[in-house]
Amino acid sequence: MSKDKRNAKLFEGSQVRDALKQSFIKLNPRALVHNPVMFTVEIGTAIMLVVCIWVLLGEKSQGSFAYNLIIFLILFITVLFGNFAEAIAEARGKAQADSLRKTRQDTPAKKVFAVGGIFTDEIKIVPSSQLQKGDFFICETGDTIPMDGEIVEGIATIDESAITGESAPVIRESGGDKSSVTGGTKVLSDHIKVKVTTAPGESFLDKMIALVEGASRQKTPNEIALTILLAGFTIIFIIVCVTLKPFGDYANTPITIAAFISLFVCLIPTTIGGLLSAIGIAGMDRALRANVITKSGKAVETAGDIDTLLLDKTGTITIGNRKATNFWPGAGVDENAFVEACVLSSLADETPEGKSIIELAETKGFKKPVLQKDKVTFIEFTAETRSSGVNIGDTRIRKGAYDSIRNKVEKAGNSVSPEMYDRVKVVAANGGTPLVVSNNDVAIGVIELQDIIKPGIHDRFDRLRKMGVKTVMVTGDNPLTAKFIAEKAGVDDFIAEAKPEDKMNYIKKEQTGGKLVAMMGDGTNDAPALAQADVGVAMNSGTQAAKEAGNMVDLDNDPTKLIEIVEIGKQLLMTRGTLTTFSIANDVAKYFAIVPALFIASIPALQGLNIMQLHSPQSAILSAVIFNAIIIPLLIPLALRGVAYKPIGASALLRRNLLIYGLGGVIVPFIGIKLIDMLVSIWF
């Protein structure tokens, strides 16, 4: 589904209508003043309107009324085009956000009142809009969750397809890292009690919609710097145009107001000025289309600068979880007995690894044994023992990491044989995870678990490397296993046996070296690292704390999304840069159109500068202004889609873009203006 969204049509009919209306509303000077370039065009348009009236009243020195009127209209359209670009970007973003917002219309909520009328914990049905932060509500099978929150009691399967587009239901339960629920999703089974974590109107989605709509959109630092540069160019051209008046006086060349304003509007970077905010909005919109909610435009931009990417191994680099691939009984241990012990130890193990051990045993012809319930005690995995197992009568079978089992075995006075230790090492060196099984504190063999690396991931890391992004794999595996997988997948570095604070330390270390770091996380213990990272992407399924700490939320819970986000960020910056270059390069041709036109009447020798052989001064000026106006809508699709990013190295990329947008920016207007002139010369 997310694929379909990305290929959505550039211009929807309804969006275009909406944007057209907005283009006129945005003419309000108070709204336009934030864009200095377009604002000056608007002032020029207003002056031309006055000139038109002046000419109507009988002024002769300014050329014909029709000519002045046409200039006025073209300038007016130029402003509208600029507004339209911004409006259509907003409309697209809004449409995207609206489709998400539909999921969260007012739904009835079963609110829990701590002190009710008759009993405590009374439940009343209220509209979701009345829920406040900190309130509790209940959801049962078939209910739509009214508000973002965190499960405090119970477990439920939830259909999140309204948000992620993924139809498979997910499990959410209290405690742990999967306790977060999103408003608009549906409970498919069971019963949960949820604590509201966001105030109405402050959910991430609300924030995102506000960002796109411009209500709270602040210019990013980069956008500000570019605006300064563009304002600088605008001032240069104000100086050029104002000083041209006395220069013209000196040369006895009267210059009409229409010519002055046309020259000015053509020279100032209207193309990028008109498209600048559209580019920014489109960046956030592209992120949204990738099902990522950004909390600020700056976060998208920063993503383009990322130097280091921290990626969890599981789910990102490898498919899902490890699987058992081999049983290695110790010396003198019967294979069948060993496999049986393995199966017994995994019977109550609900982890994918545990299940895969039984699956492997079944392929070897084992069947699940039937046990007498009263004699059996299952020992659950705990973080302290780092092992799990089963007690059947006097038999104590344990399975766990090598060092935890070794500790246990050595405490009982036994030792792990060197052969078995070698086996552990071999398994680890081959990228597998060794699990050691003990029976009554005697090590009896090793189970080999293997990771399956995602196909194509190697190429993606190559691509990242070419972008200059260093990838770091974060894994709980031991260093040997981690190294093997790191090499096989092609990541640059890894953190093995990672504890949450290791991530944090790694991020800090990179940042001290001046690098920008991105990471993805979901658990509460990821929150500090998410906050520390320059770009922290929280999974939507993650805890509220994680989502608060990060600056983006990924609705798909897809760990590979980080790579996409980096590219979106780069595209955003590149689109701005290339269109700025294009816009300024255009001026060369416009000069050659307008400057001879200004002076040719009194200095015929300057015909030598009219290298495009434009028909007449009027046709030259009109052609330049028309070209200047229509180039804006022509470039809207590029502004919305973004310039394609190719990881070919910075210098090669610069060369490519300089050729296309720099040199192209010089040549295209020569052709365009000449063609328009051929048409305009029929009348002028």
């Binding site: 001032i235 100086i239 000083t243 006395p246 006086d249 130097d307 070419k466 595209q571 200095i603 910075a650």
Partner: protein, 566 residues
């Protein structure tokens, strides 16, 4: 013909040959390493530090550097005003030249302290020898200030994260005693041998072939000529500058003086390479500057050697090329070469009359000053180029999808604001003041008739040239302009002041701010700034900014003149 070309090629290669070792030497000087001149000149430095009460080991922030720079300039400004306005009655005045009026002294002082050396007076009759000596001192000071400011920026570019950028007084004194002084002595001696006078005696006399008694001005010229060339000052001893037979006696001295013009500006690029250990970057910068320089030089030499189309139309053959306003001992190629070298650097000394260059050569001279950073003035040329690099880095950073960074430092809004203002300033000063004078002249040509020798396009070029020269701190002039009047003295003074200090303060501030920022190590995604591609980008930025700013003005001046003469 061919010998003339060989002459200028030799000059350029000779400059390059000397500039590389000189650059390395200056790098050592600014980094405080030992040099072979230490034993001789060390005591002199100590004397200066003691006299000035400066502690050369005190590390300064960029703000403190600025304060030191401005203090030095203010002190010497007052000193010079006092001398120039009273020199008529002070010693060392054998020819009895008068003191200057206040507006002329203001113009002259600013002109020399700002390294412009626009001379609205004539050396023979306008200043006493004491005045000349003060002006000569200023040629050391202003050049030293520029080089010291440049050294601060080099230090800042090298700094990974800190605000201590060395000591300004140290850079300043060392620039004067370790670079300018020794080089000046060598050049002065070579000139002396070839006949440039060095005396405190008054005018000499001889009886010409016609039997008239002719007075010949002389004075301590050789010393002044040396530093005027080396420090991109350009303030000549005699009125017609290096076209004067005593200031520039023969083709050999012409080579020496012309090499001196661009020697230090080129050497400073290599100094940066050595100090930062970024030789490729130095060669990239040198390459961009040289391409720009050649694009101005080659058509100029061609135009001058081809001769004036107006004279061709009269049916006169011009085998020597366009010789109006040129010295026969130099010829058109060497004159055009000098004309371009003196305008691309902010030198401004001349060996031919720029007013008489063909229309396009005049334009290329102006373009050189409008860019003002193809080599540029000592120190300040690099500072101007630095601003263009910042803008180019910003745009190209965006084009490759990465927040722009230069030498590991991120370029953000604050730096862009300063860079934009500085890039604007030059355009503003030139166009606004030319507009002012055009406006005055256009509305009252009678009152201001004395300003322009040639009304029309050429008159416009004269005014445009004067302000371009002032803003670029160049100092050469289209001498057809009647400029020794209060209007030109004062407006040019203001333009020179703003055109000097703001373009030093701006880059210094940018470099200082960047020095403090966190250093970002290079990665594969970092845009390399020492590549051909980036060089092309910088060149494009310079070309576009200058072309866009000045095209209409040039179209009304030299371009109109060119097409109407064709």
């Amino acid at each position: 013909m061919n010998t003339e070309i060989i002459g200028i090629v030799t000059m350029f290669l000779l400059t390059l040959l000397l500039a590389i070792p000189l650059g390395r030497y200056m790098g050592k000087v600014y980094q405080g390493e030992k040099t072979w001149l230490d034993p001789i000149l060390g005591p002199l430095d100590k004397l200066f530090f003691k006299l000035g009460g400066a502690k050369p080991d005190r590390d300064m922030t960029w703000q403190q550097h600025l304060l030191a720079l401005l203090t030095i300039n203010l002190v010497w400004f007052l000193f010079s005003m006092a001398i120039l306005m009273t020199m008529g009655s002070l010693p060392l005045n054998p020819d009895g030249n008068p003191s200057m009026t206040a507006d002329l002294a203001f113009n002259t002082t600013i002109s020399f302290i700002s390294n412009t050396n626009l001379q609205h007076y004539s050396g023979e009759s306008g200043v006493s020898y004491l005045g000349q000596l003060v002006l000569m001192l200023f040629q050391f000071i202003s050049a030293g200030i520029g080089m010291a400011a440049c050294a601060v920026v080099f230090k800042a570019m090298k700094e990974k994260a800190g605000d201590k950028l060395g000591n300004f007084y140290n850079y300043f004194i060392k620039s004067c005693t370790r670079v300018l002084l020794p080089l000046s002595i060598v050049v002065a001696v070579l000139l002396l041998i070839n006949g440039t006078p060095m005396t405190f005696k008054g005018k000499d006399q001889f009886i010409s072939l016609q039997g008239d008694t002719v007075s010949v001005s002389r004075g301590p010229a050789a010393a002044m000529v040396a530093i005027k060339q080396l420090g991109t000052n350009g303030g000549g001893f005699f009125g017609v500058n290096s076209a004067h037979p005593l200031e520039n006696p023969n083709y050999f001295t012409n080579i020496i003086e012309n090499v001196s013009i661009i020697l230090i500006p080129i050497a400073l690029i290599f100094t940066m390479g050595f100090m930062l250990k970024k030789r490729r970057l130095a060669w990239m910068i040198f390459g961009v500057m040289t391409v720009g320089f050649l694009l101005l030089l080659v058509p100029s030499v061609y135009q001058e050697m081809k001769g004036s189309p107006a004279i061709t139309r009269l049916g006169v053959t011009q085998q020597l090329g366009s010789m109006e306003g040129k010295e026969v001992r130099f010829g058109p190629a060497a004159s055009a070469y000098w004309g371009i070298t003196t305008t691309v650097t902010s030198n401004g000394s001349v060996n031919a009359m720029h007013d008489s260059f063909t229309a396009l050569t005049g334009m290329f001279c102006m373009l050189g000053m409008m860019v003002n950073s193809f080599y540029g003035g000592v120190g300040v040329g690099f500072l101007n180029f630095y601003v263009y690099i910042i803008i180019a880095v910003f745009i190209s950073g965006l084009m490759v999808g990465r927040t722009p960074e230069f030498l590991g430092k991120k370029i953000e809004a604050k730096e862009m604001k300063i860079a934009t203002i500085i890039a604007l300033l030059h355009t503003f000063l030139i166009l606004a003041f030319t507009a002012l004078s055009s406006h005055l002249y256009a509305h009252d040509p009678k009152t201001y008739a004395g300003w322009l020798n040639n009304p029309g396009y050429h008159g416009f070029s004269e005014m445009l040239y004067e302000y371009t020269s002032s803003s670029a701190n160049n100092g050469s002039g289209f001498e057809g302009l009647g400029d020794a009047v209060p209007f030109w003295n004062i407006t040019c003074g203001i333009v020179m002041l703003l055109g000097r200090y703001l373009p030093i303060i701006g880059p210094l501030a940018i470099a200082g701010i960047l020095a403090k920022k966190k250093y970002v190590p290079e990665s594969a995604g970092t845009l390399k700034t020492d590549t051909f591609t980036f060089g092309a980008m910088v060149f494009a930025v310079i070309a576009i900014v200058v072309a866009l700013s000045f095209f209409p003005a040039l179209a009304l001046g030299p371009i109109a003149e060119y097409f109407s003469m064709k």
